[in-house]
Amino acid sequence: MDQALPPTRWTIFLDTFFKASVIDQYLPSILKGIVVTLEVAALVVICGILLGLTLALVRAYRIRAVNILIVILVDMLRALPPLVIILVVYFGLPNVGIALSNFAVLWLILTLVLAAFAEEIFWAGITATPKGQWEAARSTGLGFTQTLLFVVMPQALRITIPPLTNRTIAITKNTALGTVIGVPEILNQATTATSFAGNATPLMMGAVAYMVIFIPVVTFGRWLETRFAWRRA
Amino acid sequence: MLLIHADARRGLPAARPLLLAQVDTALTPDTPILDVRGLTKRFGSTEVLKGIDLKVRPQELVFVIGPSGSGKSTFLRCCNRLEEPTDGSIRVAGVELLAHKVDINAMRRRIGMVFQSFNLYPHMTARGNVMLALRKVLKMPKEQARAEADAALDRVGLADRAGHHPSALSGGQQQRVAIARALALKPELMLFDEPTSALDPELVGSVLGGMRDLKADGMTMLVVSHEMRFAQEAADRVVFMDGGVIVEEGPPSAIFGAPKHERTRAFLSRVLN
């Protein structure tokens, strides 16, 4: 391109969002951010789903007091914006002598939120399993726990997979909230770099990083949904 | 005639001078309600209808029979352009349906259709099902539409079920509501695609009874069905289709009593036993 030409809208656009020198300079920090985002995401997905599954299994025993506690906890976590909980915990706990790192707070809260949604989804799967399945299994001498684990859950899991995938994706995207409390994930790196560089290229890099991570996941979620829809039909 | 000139000026192909039909054909009592000529239909590369010719005269009940996959449903669905024909001509009361200027919604109002699976709107009551097109297509005021809907439901013996949702009705009642839904629009022709095939045997009679009443009232009907006994008793003509063509047609006594074609004989011996 001829340097002498006056800048066009297009070159201004490129300069603002895709400036090569800025990309070069800040690529390492964005990559660091990606690693942090993936770490938090992996920990949240694993812990959140396991905790949610555990809560749903516990709920299946229908111990009244325990179930009321689970329902209240789950309801609250579903009703509260995660950012509100993050701020309460992050700013409140140190003053009562509990110091958690910002990384730990982000992980803890997102795990709890995912667990709450996962519990509801697993529970819906358990209750959707026909009564006859319980009766058939119990009639062959299987115990309650055996029936739950070997007969009911395998069937429940199938119908929970599509909604669980979608919910997991949505909550994993909340790792971006970490930026508010200074977790050095993608968005945090991108905004810091943007203010240093005086140029929006790092923000664009951050957005692209999220697309690279999440578009395959979203597409996978969509594929799962159609696949399971076919099976049902 | 002016309309045709307007077309020519815009350089539209005059391949189907169909408005002529609308203008020039005087509707005599002998004009067929349905006049199908050279109708073909392809899905991709498979030709499902290979040139169908059929006339249905006013007040006639024509019965279409034939093996599964022979194209009966496709033929019927072409007659109100739910399926877009590949080629040919379909005139309903003298109006060419395949003209590109035809107001297909206005024509569909004049062609009632009853489906195998009823297709009632589950979120509306029986009356609501019947009223919808009266209100939105015929633009009737609410009170009048309501009265017409109730009259149509009364004709199929369901005056007392007008406020029920489809889920609260038996299959036979649902199908009669579907008939009322078509009937309320005062169609000149009614198409039935296996109206009793989804019904329990004991409910078939009520629907056939409704169709019998329609026939007695002078409705013109084209019916695809496997109810051979009903065909023998009520049909004016029976058409046997196979492989996308009409193999033979004639009065029920001839088709059932002395079929001319081997294919017809083979089909009838299979279904009648």
């Binding site: 201004i12 509260l80 914006p81 409140g92 664009m204 979203v218 | 919808l132």
Partner: protein
């Protein structure tokens, strides 16, 4: 224990900041009043495109929906609020928030409506068209009402998410509920304003969450 109460449930501080938070709540509700109805309508349009006869419309909606489902709403918001000014487009916090959430929202509502529209068999459309209704009338009176009813729990669930989403507006200094609460926290050095804000959200959303649980159970049964 006293320390805990003082830090999280300090009644005198709560009383003090209450009017400020109510003002913030109004702003939250204002954002919701725009973003929810407009987003829900835009989502319906997206879904009608995604399921339309037109190949072009179908092909165009996929990247739109996937893009805004993949990018976290906070990233989108910050991009619009702090990125666009570099290109000479400066939006007020309120404008940034509504734009970001509408884009995000229409994609999510769109996916839900699409599932709903796809759950309606072709027979319903055919029956309606056979009585002379136009394609538009068929959508309005026959298909959409059934589609919406089939995905009502998902629509409601997404609406809860949208209300929660508005808390992100605090990041771009829109004085909504969370922003007001966090400002109060930084002045009082106490988490009670945040807890009070949480209480506001609970009052607003808990009944809806309960209703949703019920709806979900009814649909499953």
């Amino acid at each position: 224990m006293d320390q805990l109460l003082d830090q999280f449930f300090n009644l005198s501080i709560m009383q003090q900041v209450f009017p400020l938070l109510v003002k913030g709540l109004w702003m939250t509700l204002k954002v919701c009043a725009i973003v929810i109805p407009v987003g829900a309508f835009a989502g319906l349009v997206v879904a009608l495109c995604a399921t339309s006869q037109s190949r072009l419309a179908r092909i165009l909606t996929v990247p739109y929906v996937d893009l805004f489902r993949a990018v976290p709403p906070l990233v989108l918001l910050i991009f619009i609020h702090s990125g666009l000014p570099f290109a000479g487009i400066s939006l007020s916090p309120f404008q940034s928030v509504t734009l970001a959430f509408l884009l995000n929202n229409s994609a999510f509502y769109g996916e839900i409506y699409r599932a709903g529209l796809e759950s309606i068999g072709a027979g319903q459309r055919e029956a309606a068209r056979s009585t002379g209704l136009t394609a538009l009338q068929t959508n309005i009176y026959v298909v959409i009402p059934q589609a919406v009813r089939n995905v009502l729990p998902d629509l409601l669930s997404n609406t809860i998410e949208v209300v929660k989403l508005t808390s992100l507006a605090s990041v771009v200094a829109l004085p909504e509920l969370l922003y007001s609460a966090d400002m109060a926290r930084s002045i009082t050095f106490n988490a009670s304003p945040l807890v009070l804000a949480a209480a506001f959200y609970l009052v607003l959303l808990w009944p809806v969450v309960r209703l949703l649980s019920r709806l979900e159970r009814r649909v499953a049964a």
